[in-house]
């Protein structure tokens, strides 16, 4: 099973991907909100709403990835 091949580096590789995925999710939420605000001119509410969605998506990805690591499915 997975643990017998260079497992320390593999754990490090698994955990190191979580940080940037949280940042990318927040940034994408912000970008979508900003774009929709330009279209519908509802500044700043849509931008804030989608930033919150992005942060939530980042946390969702965090829980999902940590769950996968804990169940040895990554």
């Amino acid at each position: 099973m997975p643990e017998n091949d260079f497992s320390v580096w593999r754990q490090m590789a698994r955990f190191s991907t979580i940080g940037i995925s949280m940042v990318a999710a927040t940034a994408i939420g912000l970008a979508i909100g900003y774009g929709l605000d330009q279209l519908l001119s509802t500044r700043p509410w849509l931008m804030l709403l989608f930033t919150l969605f992005g942060i939530a998506a980042g946390f969702l990805n965090l829980f999902r990835e940590v769950g996968l690591i804990q169940r040895h499915r990554w």
Binding site: A13, R14, I20, S21, A25, I28, F53, A57, G58, G67
Partner: protein, 278 residues
């Protein structure tokens, strides 16, 4: 332990000779081709003149990431042709290497995705071998890695993104695949759908930026380090610290990219809804 490996057998002298050649070639190229200042967008030494100018490609030389993508393609196609030319039951050296690579990818695919993981070998294997060769090529003096350019890594990440969604839609149908985005309870669907959508969009962004940042940063640090004129100390630091780190990062970033691709494919294709959502 009765195994005695003589100095010639273990290849000890060969490795020192290869490192010496690497340092000497780098010194010669640095003396004759350096521009006196550090610019991270300096044209590489090995390059082709721009014969695609009629298509609108700018500059007098071909963009380095395009040229070195062709170099990587030539290497991979060459090894593939050499390895499969006269297939024997007891394989020769090149065929052995090709078989080892394919076995490694198939084992990872079956471990991550299950029994039908084998059908995704073209995507994952090609991406993995391309990224590995591209990352490793940067250590040759005068060469640049094509993955040190965000265009290449975005192309790879977008390909993986479109592919895993296509695999999911092909397996489950469009409506059922979109239902995966809606969370465990239908009541939460209006909140969960944008969150899942944004989370999925974050995947190609993080894949491309992670690979680009690692390889470009590695190259930048080595370029700045070797531009110091500190007798041979920069070259000793390069040999002792940066070259092993660069080789290690090349392999680790390939591994992370293909493992994440397989995780995304597995998430799109898996049966049984209750596995991932909590």
């Amino acid at each position: 332990m009765a195994t005695e490996i003589s100095e010639e057998q273990s290849g000890g002298k060969g490795i020192w000779a290869a490192l010496a050649i690497l340092v000497v070639v780098n010194l010669i190229l640095g003396v004759f081709f350096s521009s006196g200042h550090v610019s991270l967008h300096h044209a590489p030494i090995v390059q082709l003149p721009n014969f695609l100018a009629f298509l609108g490609v700018p500059g007098t030389w071909l963009p380095p990431h395009i040229f070195f993508t062709w170099v990587v393609m030539a290497i991979l196609v060459g090894v593939a042709i050499l390895g499969t030319r006269a297939l024997k039951a007891v394989p020769g050296p090149v065929q052995n290497v090709v078989e080892v690579a394919i076995e490694a990818f198939c084992a990872l695919l079956e471990q991550m995705i299950g029994k039908e993981g084998r059908q995704y070998l073209p995507l994952v294997g090609t991406a993995g071998l391309f990224i590995l060769t591209s990352n490793l090529i940067a250590n040759i003096p005068g060469f640049q890695a094509p993955t040190a350019n965000w265009n290449t890594t975005v192309a790879l990440a977008v390909t993986v993104f479109v592919s895993y969604n296509y695999f999911g839609i092909r397996k489950h149908g469009l409506v059922k695949y979109l239902k995966h985005f809606c969370g465990p309870m239908p009541l939460l669907a209006p909140i969960m759908f944008p969150i899942e959508f944004i989370g999925h969009l974050a995947r190609p962004v993080s894949l491309s930026v992670r690979l680009f940042g690692n390889i470009f940063g590695e190259e930048s640090v080595i370029a700045i380090l070797l531009s110091l004129t500190w007798l041979v100390m920069p070259y000793l630091i390069w040999l002792g610290v940066m070259l092993p780190l660069s080789l290690f990062t090349a392999v680790v970033q390939t591994f992370v990219f293909i493992m994440l691709s397989m995780v995304y494919i597995a998430g799109a294709v898996e049966e049984g809804h209750g596995d991932e959502h909590h």
